[in-house]
């Protein structure tokens, strides 16, 4: 507790001074002490008087603060949607749900063909759905508005794709750990299909590309695996260079034809 300037009563606390200046209820003895202190203490009277500069600054700030009542929340929200397409939310949730279902089925012993886990079968098509929701005409209602803005283009497409992978890959990694499936068996097909959707999307539009790739996967890989009860070559270690090659080819096509993403034809 500070002593007064001439050994008088203690300086009142900020809280007490605030209550005094706002005519709030203060016990009589404290009220008297504050008043007698203020009579003798210039600095404390200064604390009580409104500061003209602070008042002026506040008067200027107040309307601005009114105009932006929720800045911190708004900024955080905008940061999320700078990456995640506003249309992709439910699809990202569905991706995690399907991954969990594949793990559950694997754990209860449901396998396809010659011990092919469902996790491996769904891994490539999951991100394709996310990408279609992020840039496709049929799943993103505001695709035409977005396409006309300066941000439309490969950088935004890649951000949204990264957001899809940021959900899909950790989900599949957890699924891989739970089911004992090695990373190489799902990661490369998953990435190759993701980039493949974008690459094919520059040629026929992302929506159509997603449909074509999911259908191709179902017909060429999944159906024979189920029908003939044998592991498709695609799941073999030996297929790794093929997946890597497809991934690189996809990246090249996407980069070369990136301008498609600034037009509506990229959404078809």
């Amino acid at each position: 507790m500070n002593r007064g300037p001439r050994g008088g009563t203690a300086h009142p606390s900020d809280q007490l001074l605030h209550r005094y200046s706002h005519d709030q209820d203060i016990p009589a003895d404290q009220l008297w002490a504050v008043e007698s202190h203020l009579e003798s203490c210039g600095p404390c009277r200064g604390r009580l008087a409104p500061e003209p500069i602070a008042e002026a600054v506040w008067a200027g700030l107040e309307p601005l603060l009114d105009a932006t009542p929720q800045m911190p929340r708004t900024r955080a929200w905008r940061r999320v949607h700078a990456w995640v397409s506003p249309a992709a939310g439910p699809w990202l949730a569905m991706i995690l749900l399907v991954t969990a279902a594949a793990v559950a089925l694997d754990r209860v012993g449901v396998v396809v063909g010659d011990r092919v886990s469902l996790v491996v079968l769904v891994a490539p098509v999951l991100p394709v759905l996310g990408v279609a929701a992020s840039w496709g005409r049929s799943l993103d209602p505001a695709h035409e508005l977005t396409a006309a803005t300066p941000r439309a283009g490969l950088p935004l497409v890649l951000r949204r794709t990264a957001a899809v992978l940021a959900v899909t890959v950790p989900g599949l990694a957890a699924a891989g750990l739970l089911t004992g499936i090695g990373v190489v068996r799902w990661l490369l097909p998953c990435l190759a299909f993701t980039v493949g959707t974008l690459a094919l999307g520059t040629l026929i539009g992302v929506t159509r590309a997603a449909v074509v790739l999911v259908a191709a996967w179902a017909v060429v890989i999944v159906a024979p695996t189920i029908a003939f009860s044998r592991t498709a070559l695609a799941f073999d270690q030996a297929a790794t260079p093929v997946w890597a090659g497809l991934l690189v080819a996809g990246l090249v096509v996407t980069a070369v034809r990136r301008m498609t993403f600034t037009r509506l034809e990229g959404n078809r």
Binding site: R78, A87, E144, T146, T149, P150, R263
Partner: protein, 249 residues
């Protein structure tokens, strides 16, 4: 330099030319784009909004060719598509803010610009409501708000008055008249009365080609009492369309 300069623009969609060798120069003011359904109005507006590439011909917007770097031009563009898609779970303010971000507006300017845009379309009191709770007319007004949020120099509105009630249409005409004083506003519509009331200038297209360009008064003088329509301007419209395509349908 005019804000929009199109020369022999051709846009091929499937087997037909939706826009067929159209040349057009538009500067400041409110221009009405009229024409029957299927005349190529939406394709033309999409091409001017740079989301549709022309098959041939040249297009320059605000002095730069619209085939190379689109970003600087798009920052100065406002566009309301015919099918205005939006995110239902977004609040009105959030949706317009998101579009402002997509238009690369400086972060510090976004809250103020969104507030102003919502004020101009009379939606300030609905700013914190979800998009899905709005009526059709209100959704259209959000569409107009997102188009004007970046104070565009070229504003392209495709059927902006659909879903607006008569009072809202009057307010809309006042708003575009105000915007047309400083920028180039092109409004596509099939409502001839909107053009008569709101536009300084009429562009009439049929089957992808320019049929007429002039003031609403000029359009009115093109018709006679023999032509279909309730007002002189409607009669002028049907006269020009039937002369070009053999029928107003």
């Amino acid at each position: 330099m005019q804000a929009i300069e199109a020369d022999s623009l051709v846009v091929r969609l499937g087997k037909r030319n939706a826009v067929n060798g159209l040349s057009l120069r538009l500067g400041q003011g409110v221009h009405g784009l009229l024409g029957p359904n299927g005349a190529g109005k939406t394709t033309l507006i999409r091409t001017l909004a740079t989301v549709q590439s022309p098959t041939s011909g040249t297009l320059s917007l605000l002095g730069s060719p619209a085939n190379g770097k689109l970003r600087p031009v798009r920052r100065r563009l406002g566009y309301l598509p015919q099918h205005f898609g939006y995110y239902k779970r977004f609040k009105v303010r959030e949706f317009v803010e998101y579009l402002a971000w997509l238009k690369e507006m400086p972060s510090a300017r976004i809250p103020g610009a969104v507030k102003t845009a919502l004020e101009r379309v009379g939606l300030t009191d609905r700013a914190e409501d979800r998009m899905k709770s709005l009526s059709g007319g209100m959704v259209r007004r959000v569409g107009i708000a997102q188009a004007i949020v970046n104070s565009p120099d070229v504003l392209l509105l495709d059927e902006p008055t659909v879903g607006l009630d008569p009072a809202q249409r009057l307010r809309f005409r006042e708003l575009v008249a105000e915007l047309g004083r400083s920028s180039c506003v092109l409004i596509s519509t099939h409502l001839v009365e909107d053009v008569a009331a709101a536009c300084t200038d009429v562009v009439l297209v049929s089957e992808g080609s320019l049929v007429f360009r002039g003031t609403p008064a000029d359009l009115a003088t093109a018709g006679t009492t023999e032509h279909v329509g309730d007002s002189p301007i409607e009669r002028g419209y049907s006269a020009l369309i039937s002369a070009n395509a053999g029928g107003a349908w």
